[in-house]
Structures are given as C-alpha cells and as structure tokens.
Amino acid sequence: MAAGSEVYVLGGFQTDFARNWTKENKHFSALMRESVLGALEACELAPEEIESAHVGNFAAELYCMQGHLGAFFTEVHPAFSGLPTGRHEAACASGSIALLAASAEIEAGRYDLQAVVGIEQMKTVSASEGGAYLGTAAWYAEEADGIEFPFPKLFGRLGDEYDKRYGLKDEHLAEISRLNYDNAKLNANAQTRTWYMNKEHALCRTDDNPAVGGRIRIADCSQVTDGAVTMFLASRDYAEKYARGMGKKLEDIPRIKGWGHNTARLRFDDKVAESQDDRFVLPHVRSTVTNAMKRAGIADVNGVDGIETHDCFTTSEYMAIDHFGITEPGESWKAVEAGWLEIDGKHPINPSGGLIGAGHPVGATGVRQLLDGYKQVTGTAGDYQVEGAKNFQTLNIGGSGTTSVSFIIGR
C-alpha cells in the first residue's frame, strides 16, 4: 500500500441481532436509520462530515420487496441528501465487498470519510422461504432449485469432503458450536445469548437437534437474523484531524492493514474438483487469508491476536481453522481439542459468538466482523474482549466458499 493511502477505521455501531423488526412493526428503513444514527453517535461524528456511503446487502428485493438501497441512506438525515451512494452484493460477503469498495475510494483519494452499512432483514418470511432465497447464493438452477434448505446440504458436503480426505468427527463440530454459543452469552448484541446450548446438546441426535442437511444439524447452523451495522472509514488526513478532536493520537486509531479477496467457481463440485491435488480443500479461501497477511506484513497466524471467521456452519469454521494456518491441513481438530480457540486461548476464534452465536444478517456480517475486530483492537469489546489484542483478522465468505474476503485491522 502506498504511503498516505492508509484506510483508518473510526468505529461504528451494530443493532441488537436478537431483535425481530417485523414483530416490532418496523420497516427496513428503520433498521438502516438506527444503525447509521447509532454509529454517528458512537463515533461522535456530525452527519455533515460524511462524504459518501456504501451499502452491503444480499437480497432485500426478496425479503423486503425493496431495492435501490444506496438511496435509502439519504433518508436517514437531511444532510445526506445528494451524497454519492451505492449498493454492493456478493451473497454473504456483501458487507465486505462494500468495505472493499469504500477502502478503494479512500486509497484513490476520492473521499476522506465514508460510511459503510451492512444490512439484512430476514425475519419477514418463513424459514423454508428464506432458505430458498439463500439458495440464490449458489448456482440456483443447478444446486438449489427444488431442494429444501440447500445451504446446510452444501456445507454438509464440505464436512464430507474433509471426512474423505482427513477424517472428521461430529464431536469436534459440536465443540465448535458449543464455543460459539458460549461466547455469544458474553455479547449483549448476540442473537443466541439466551438460547439453551451446551456440548451435550450440540451432540444430541434427537428431534431437539434435527438434521437439516447431511451431517449438519440445527446446532451446527448460523441463524436467520435481522441486523444492520454501520462503520466509518477515513483517510489518513481525516483520521489525524479526528484523533486530535477526540484527544487521541493517530496511532490510537486502528487501520485496515491488509485485505484479501478471491472468487472461486460457483458450484461446490467444481471447487472440490479443482482442489483435489491441493493441501487445502478450498485453496482460494486460503489465498484470501494469506494475501491479507502479506499485505499487512504479517508472517502467519501467530501475528494476529484473534479471528472473526465465517461460521455459517460448524464445517465452515472447521475449514477456516486449518486455512488460517492454525494447524496443518486436515488437523483442525487439534486446535479444537487443545482449547486454542477459546477467548483466552492461543488463537481465539469468534469471541463475539460468530455467525452461529451472534447471528448472521447476511449482508451485514462482513461489516459486523470488522466492527468486532475494531472493538477488540481498541479494547472496547466488553465481556468478550481478548486481552491486549493488537491485530484481528476477519474472514467473510459468500456462497459455498465462493467469494472470500479477509481484512486485518490493527493499530
């Protein structure tokens, strides 16, 4: 990254992912409004300062019969009327794509202060209808049409592929679920913070934990969530001015130190076929992670103090463990058994509770992950704080390992 083109992160705000905005009789616009106004307040920024806005969202046209989401940003405050805005979509990685676009504009010197909103309202429809909408993140006609809950099945097959290549035990997946739910209990914004869960429950094979797709059971799944997250990204000049105004130093303001971004072929079968001779099951995901590390000047996973990863299912977190390089490929279970992933462990993963515990409002997830990284490196994560965290890495995945984006945020 050229000098002077750093992207600083001023902070942000997430809505409480346990809320059901349909039950509160609230419109999509209310979700955006609360997150944007909340972020302005949290960061002590005046609305007049914002120069541009990027909205990440997957499928508001389906869930809410509403498109043109960039324009909704202008409804939040009179000062926003006339601002350049737009919307970005890459399935569950939509939020990270919005962050990438905003960062690129800052690096290019076009704007000094950008708002990024990740947003999804999903509880407007039944579970099966929503499951079909999510199927459009795969190659719908080939992999999802006519299949109930296509995504658990696709990620069940990710588990099958691990099983075939290296062996995979259900108890390790159950432990991943248990840990995410446990961490969520420490996060006041987590959707499942009051839900009943323990390892025994995650392992149970009765109707209390039904199968939804191959080896994937309910306890292995992330949630259907309403939520929005807004963050502000700034140029070095703006960050310097902002830090002064807040009585801080520029070094106190975290920045995006590195990023990775790859897109693999859409169909799961094609991805797996491509990786037959590779050490990694999803080599493009591995590239995303290592590219972010290279750009940040970080040699390996020991250079980050924690990870917020995309655990849309326990199998995706199992995959992430070796793809981050915490273990050798196929040996993710070792990190699970050793307790390395706990908040106080050697390589904390998802102290927030992740997508399984904190919730997964699809288009908001990438932004939520970066915000949690921001909280960790500024020591403001509350009960789920990783002590002394300096650098945090995210991994956000759209589709069945298709679009991958990773950020490293640090001071």
Partner: protein
C-alpha cells in the same frame, strides 16, 4: 446501598472459572420459577437436583423443565427427589442451593432451618424471592450461612428474560456476591443488577406501581382502553393489564400489598390494590392460570372484564374514543423516528392522552425518586426495567423526548419532579442518562 458492579470482563471470566459449580439443588422445583431456573442451570452445571414435597411433584417440574429447555441434556443432568427423603443428603453435597418455594416467609424459614443444618460450610444458598427481605430470611442464622446467603431474582420465564436482580444481605461475603454475578454473566447469559434489600427490590417496585395504576384506571375506563392508552407505543411489548393476567392476580396482589404495607413513598396510593381486584381474587379470578382475568379467550374472540360488575363482554362490542394520535406515533416509530413519535404523544390533545401521559410521567418520576433507595444510580433501575420487564427504561424515555419535555410532562401531570431531571432541564445542555452502547434504545419503542 449496593455499588453497581465494577467487575471487568477479565475479572468476570476469571471469577466464573475460580470455582466450579458441579451441583445445584433446586428447592420447590415444581413451581414455575423452580423448574425454569433449574432448566437454566443445566446448561452450565453437570448435576442439578430437583426437590419438591414429593418425588412425583419434582418429576412434574422436570417434565416442565424439559419442555422449556427443549434439550435432552435437561433430563440427563437432573435427578429428582423429595424433601423428606433427599434434602439433607443433596444439600450436603451441593455447591449452590437455590430456593424457589412459595412466597411465604414461614415456609421458607422452615426449609432454611433444614438447609442450615445440612449444608456444607462453603455451600452458597440463594433465594429467588421477588420481594421478601434477604436480611430477615437469614436473621439469627450462623455466620457461615449469612456469609453465603443472597437473593438471586430471575424473572419469569428465565429462559427468555435475562434481567436478574442480585441482592446481598448485610453479612453476605462480597466475594460470594462477585462470584455469583460472574457465574451468571459468563455461563447463564444474565444481565445482573445489584439492588438494595428493600420491598420488591428495584424491578417489581417500579414495574408493579405502573401495572397497579393501570389496574386502578380499569375500574373507570375499562381494560381495553387502558391497555390501548398505556400500550406498546408507551414503550412496552406487552400491555399492562395483559401482563397482570400473565403474571397472575395473586402474585400481583402479593407484590403490591408488600410494597403498600412496607413503604410510604410519594406515590403510596398507586400501590394500593383496587378493591374490585381484591373481590374478584376472592372469587378465584387469578388471570391466565384460571379462567381469565381482565381478558379471557372465548374461541377466537376475546372477552373483556368489567371490573366493577365482574361481568365479561366481547371485545368487539366495546367502543373506544378517537385515539388517532396513537396511530401517528406508531407510524413514526415504524421508521425509527422515536423522538418525533414521543413529541406527537406529548402534544396530543384530549383527556385520554392526558391520562396516558400521567401514567408514563408517573413511571419516570417514581423511578428517578427511587435512586439511592433501591439502586445507587438510575442505571440499575434502567437495566432491570429494560432487561427484566422489557419496557423502555425511564432514562430512555427521558433521553428520547429530552429532559425539558420530561419535566414539563411530569409537571403537567401534577407529579413531583425528581431533582436529577430538574437539574438536567435547568442546565439547558443536552444530557444523556442512558449509557449502554450495546442496548438498542429503539427496541423498546414498539409500533402499533
């Protein structure tokens, strides 16, 4: 006065790990709070003993706990027994004894006599009482008992409502209080609020004052109009009289009688149970757990009580006055324009809007007047109203409408203005009373 918790996140995790709760004994496991709390404990504790008067009763509690936890681990971690055969042995092995018997001082005292003899020296004893005095319950007992005794007030149903009051007695060991708070935060997902040992503690003291005032108004206005006037737009998902039906009229009576008899505050008369309710309770009207209360179901229709005559009539036959302002407020809320919505409420004309404002003003005034009595700051009251009652915390209402508006609403209702609010309004500076970046104030403003 109990200080608000100062435990840091690291302390919470460290304290929660400092002591392993391997065995919890629930006394009164067949009651709603007994089995609900018991189910909650099975999430994090490997062994939980359900005790009741008979083993069959304890097993009824277990069946209900399984229904609530919806997990086979509830059954696999629970054993059942009765007081006569199992109490001494189970309590002797317990790390924590959780008492959830009927709200009756003598009944609790009797069981604590047995617990005191049987317990380990380091066994913690917690009561889920919603208002009996913690100091009175352990008075005259051994040093070891009093050091390890505290109030742990979960709200019903505990699997859904996270707000929890923690009440130390004069002699409770602060380390025990800290440990219980840390354990509940880290392992049971609880929002912990420390309160003083005053009648009904913080949440029920403030909440039932509002509920009872709504019940008093129902004599004249009827239940439907009252629940519309003090409905969701005033910052609550469940309307007040429907709440009393859900809680049970007997429980409502026990709480407000306790407050009325043992306190004498500026709003004393609003804590007096309406005569009409007292008479109907004698006839067996207890709300949803009997044949109905202010409301009852008749197939698909809802029937509504006339509290004075005791008769019911179909809701469809009840005519309401024009309350168009409520629709305007709801429409603004649906776009998250909460401040504007409250301004419409404050400006609404007519006697009915004035009655609604009086109840809301009374809630704010009463809550702020309790600071220093039930909690050390408004923060504790705010958190228990938000997380225990699921109502807009008083400070959220004040912040959203502005302290000057809040003061003029309270004055307009002829109620005493708390000094904290008067001061904020006088200063003319925008002030925030509610400081919880992780609690969305917006969730409390329910549209429609």
């Amino acid at each position: 006065m109990p200080a608000s918790s100062q435990l840091s996140p690291a302390q919470v995790r460290e304290l929660a790990r400092s002591r392993n709760l391997q065995h919890v004994v629930v006394l009164g496991a067949n009651g709603t709070m007994g089995f609900g709390s018991g189910a909650l404990f099975t999430q994090a504790v490997p062994r939980v003993t359900f005790l009741a008067r008979s083993k069959a009763k304890a097993e009824e509690g277990l069946a209900a706990a399984i229904g609530q936890g919806r997990s086979p681990t509830v059954a696999s971690r629970v054993e059942c027994g009765d007081y006569d055969g199992d109490l001494e042995r189970a309590v002797g092995e317990a790390d924590l004894v959780f008492e959830a018997l009927t709200e009756d001082f003598e009944i609790k005292k009797e069981i604590f006599d047995r617990v005191e003899k049987a317990r380990r020296d380091d066994g913690i004893v917690a009561t889920v009482t919603s208002g009996l005095s913690i100091n009175a319950l352990c008075k005259g007992r051994s040093d070891s008992f009093r050091k390890n005794f505290l109030g742990l007030h979960f709200f019903n149903p505990p699997n859904v409502i996270t707000g929890t009051e923690l009440i130390a007695g004069d002699d409770t060991d602060p380390a025990v209080v800290d440990f219980v708070e840390a354990f509940c935060r880290a392992h049971l997902g609880r929002e912990m609020i420390r309160t003083a040992d005053t009648p009904a503690f913080a949440g029920n003291r403030v909440g039932f004052k509002v509920l009872n005032e709504a019940a008093q108004l129902a004599d004249e206005l009827g239940p439907v109009l009252v629940d519309r006037l003090v409905g969701p737009y005033t910052g609550r998902a469940l309307t007040p009289l429907a709440t009393i039906d859900l809680v049970g009229w007997d429980i409502h009576r026990a709480i407000v009688d306790n407050v009325y008899e043992n306190t004498n505050d500026e709003a004393h008369e609003t804590n007096k149970l309406p005569e009409t309710m007292a008479k109907l309770i004698e006839k067996g009207v207890l709300g949803d757990k009997t044949d109905g209360g202010f409301f009852k179901r008749d197939g698909k229709a809802r029937l509504v009580l006339d509290p004075v005559s005791g008769d019911y009539k179909p809701e469809a036959e009840i005519r309401l006055p024009d309350l168009g302002y409520i629709d305007q407020v709801s429409s603004l809320y649906s776009q998250a324009r909460y401040g504007e919505g409250l301004q419409v409420f404050l400006a609404a004309e007519g006697e009915y809007a004035a009655i609604a404002r009086k109840v809301v003003a009374g809630y704010i005034s009463y809550a702020f007047h309790r600071v220093g009595e039930v909690t050390d700051t408004i923060n504790g009251i705010d958190r228990i109203m938000g997380m225990g009652f699921n109502w807009a915390p008083p400070s959220v209402l004040v912040d959203t409408m502005g302290s000057a508006s809040a003061v003029s609403m309270i004055e307009g209702a002829g109620l005493p203005v708390p000094e904290l609010l008067a001061e904020a309004a006088r200063s003319g500076e925008p002030k925030r009373f509610f400081h919880h970046p992780t609690i969305n104030a917006g969730r409390f403003f329910v549209a429609g």
